[in-house]
């Protein structure tokens, strides 16, 4: 038997924070690839601390629903899962290349494959592109359009910015969009000045966040000048400095995220059969023919 645990932050205050986690878990449940699929949280229940014991499977794949390698993925989650032999060195990562480490959970005697976060997986690039498609309603979006990938920045750790830059560069290499820029909330180049960085009239802005909340639904739309007050909402597209800004919300809510979770588990050795095809059917295809398959191409494989 094999089980999948999706490890997310959750919230004590916001009931919607866990919605993407549940949605992606449900999509993967539909594929039947795992005997058990469980959501686990830092701020909700089941807590990281107690999730493994709720499973009957002896082999467990844990995929952190986090954007970057950092405090939560390298320290909090392994500690709370009781992965006593964990050391961030086991990921042998440059900040965006973690794949997985195989460990024992001390309290349950199970094999745990502790995977890198979804946010740095190569398949995440496709999700960002798909968000650009769903935000514009155009499956061929790209020509004549600029794409801004937005992250939090360095406030907590430098790997946060690395993940944003990594995917921006990968999308740039596909030459699908006229321009691709990595922008940040609390460091240069700042998302506040989004229109300064693009010549294209149309700019799709995709925030690389797991869940919608304060940053994606309040800060960013106000900072970009899309709206004076987030409570009033904003138009998609919205007009700013003569540009049209296509902005919806956190990329983590995109259906295709379930595919990234599956790929993380597959990279760690999970037998997922044709689950990826099922998920891509459910999530809708990514309409760019030139993208390379992600499995097996990521650094750290």
């Amino acid at each position: 038997m094999q089980a999948l645990v999706i490890a997310a932050h959750g919230s004590h205050l916001n009931p919607d924070a866990s919605d993407p986690t549940y949605a992606h878990a449900d999509t993967i449940r539909e594929t039947g690839a795992f005997d058990e699929v469980r959501e686990a949280f830092w701020k909700e229940e089941p807590h990281f601390r107690e999730v493994i014991r709720t499973l009957e499977a002896d082999e467990v794949f844990v995929v952190p629903l986090f954007i970057s390698e950092g405090y939560f993925t390298e320290e909090v989650i392994p500690r709370e899962l009781r992965l006593d032999d964990w050391d961030p060195e086991k990921w042998d990562s440059d900040g965006t290349s973690a794949s997985q480490a195989t460990l024992e959970a001390d309290d349950v005697g199970k094999t745990i494959h502790y995977c890198g976060p979804v946010g740095t997986h190569d398949a995440m690039t496709d999700v960002i592109v798909q968000r650009a498609e769903t935000a514009t309603g155009d499956p061929d979006v790209g020509e004549g359009v600029g794409l801004a990938v937005v992250g939090h920045g360095t406030e907590r750790n430098e790997n946060s910015a690395k993940a944003i830059e990594y995917h921006s560069e990968r999308i740039r290499e596909r030459e699908r969009f006229d321009e691709v820029k990595a922008l940040f909330m609390d460091e240069e180049p700042e998302v506040d000045d989004v229109t300064d960085f693009f010549e294209s009239d149309d700019i799709v802005v995709v925030p690389l966040f797991i869940a919608d909340g304060y940053h994606t639904q309040e800060d960013i739309p106000e900072d970009m000048g899309l709206t004076e007050d987030y409570r009033l909402g904003w138009d998609v597209p919205g007009e700013v400095d003569g540009h049209r800004i296509w902005y919806t919300g956190a990329v983590g809510t995109e259906d295709l995220m379930a595919d990234v979770v599956l790929e993380r588990a597959a990279d760690a050795g999970a037998d997922i059969g044709d689950a990826r095809e099922t998920v891509r059917d459910i999530a809708g295809s990514v309409a760019d023919a030139d993208h390379e398959p992600s499995a097996g191409t990521g650094a750290g494989d």
Binding site: K43, E45, E56
Partner: protein
């Protein structure tokens, strides 16, 4: 009641290796079988005679089939919980002895015709036969809020997908978010009916996550309790400070957050192994094995607040006003403010009474008090 031919075949196949389950015992001796139930014994049975004898103890046979073939999962929390649901004996970790006295098969079969009710926090669980008139041993489970025990099913929102339980668990009756799933604020008005055993366990898992696993560990004597000091010292980042919370504050915190009126888990963690928290741990069926994330988050606030020094203040209050402060604190602490009627000026926590006190005693900088110890 009848036994399916398949079941008889499966059971006779297994008989050569020996069967011993819930009072049913089959052994092979020199090519012949011995069959025992608590009420009867048959010796020297050939295969045909064994089948005939099994027909005479069909309750034991269909019971064996349900637990060994349908439920399976020996040693799992899922199986133990389903056995708890119908008062069946639950095996110890060694699978040889039982931890709990349960009902024997005939008594359980009688009860399952009417349905066996158990309570799990605010949940009422009924185990019953799928087919009451001609039971073949297959059980199903119904689940609803204890407050709805006497409600007509037609008055309840009926579900059959365990995942629907997530939405039910998310908001209280006032529509407020429930960050603590085991808070005694689960809404009523819904029912899950005809769940399989696995679906029941999954549904309870969404309503009260990990409670079955921890209950099972406690039952087997291997619940891994992490006391306050261990849990606090483990924290990092912004929660690194919580191990500075004074000893007596941990008692106050447990009284604030962990008693039955706030959380249905039964607190098993203490200050440390040799130093008990001086507050009742509660009476619920499922244990709490370490301070939860809500307690950790609140402890951070209290650790910071408790780092402040105490002072002596002088302020003018009548005796009734002093008492009213206690009434206000009590009303908020008990979540009673919504119940106080608008014109009930006899209650110190009445809104007009509170506004009057504020108008009289609270200035722009808060309560008008003078620090006198400096």
């Amino acid at each position: 009641m009848t036994i399916a031919t398949d079941d008889l075949e499966t059971l006779t196949d297994r008989a050569s290796a020996g069967v011993a389950f819930d009072g049913l015992r089959i052994d092979e001796e020199d090519g012949n079988y011995v069959l025992e139930t608590p009420d009867n014994e048959w010796h020297d049975l050939d295969e045909a005679a064994l089948r005939e004898a099994l027909e005479a103890c069909e309750e034991y046979v269909t019971n064996w089939r349900y637990w060994q073939e349908t439920v399976g999962g020996e040693g799992t929390a899922r199986r133990a919980f389903l056995r708890w649901c119908e008062h069946a004996p639950i095996p110890d970790a060694d699978e040889q002895t039982t931890t709990t006295d349960g009902l024997a098969v005939p008594a359980r079969y009688d009860a399952l015709r009417d349905g066996i009710d158990r309570q799990w926090g605010q949940l009422s669980i009924t185990a019953r036969f799928v087919d009451v008139d001609d039971p073949d041993g297959e059980r199903v489970y119904d689940l609803w809020h204890v407050d709805d025990a006497d409600s007509d099913l037609a008055d309840l929102e009926v579900y059959d997908d365990p995942r629907d339980a997530r939405e039910i668990a998310t908001y209280d009756e006032d529509g407020r978010y429930r960050p603590l799933k085991t808070a005694p604020t689960l809404v009523s008005g819904w029912a899950f009916t005809g769940l399989s055993g696995a679906e029941l366990v999954e549904t309870v898992g969404f309503l009260y996550p990990a409670t079955i696993a921890n209950w099972h560990r406690e039952l087997r004597g291997n619940l891994d309790v992490d006391h306050w000091t261990e849990t606090a010292e483990r924290q990092t980042g912004i929660y690194d400070v919580i191990d500075e919370l004074p000893r007596e504050a941990v008692d106050w915190m447990a009284e604030a957050c962990c008693v039955d009126s706030q959380c249905l888990r039964r607190r098993k963690w203490e200050y440390d192994e040799d130093d008990d928290v001086d507050v009742d741990g509660g009476d619920g069926p499922f244990p709490c094995r370490e301070p939860c994330s809500l307690v950790i988050a609140a402890a951070r606030k209290w650790a910071i607040l408790e780092s402040e020094e105490e002072h002596t203040y002088e302020l003018e209050l009548t005796t009734s006003e002093l008492n009213q402060l206690a009434e206000l604190i009590d009303a908020v602490a008990e979540g009673r403010t919504d119940e106080i009627r608008e014109a009930d000026v006899y209650d110190g926590a009445n809104r007009y009474r509170a506004r009057y006190l504020r108008a009289k005693r609270v200035g722009e900088d808060g309560l008008e008090a003078t620090q006198v110890d400096e």
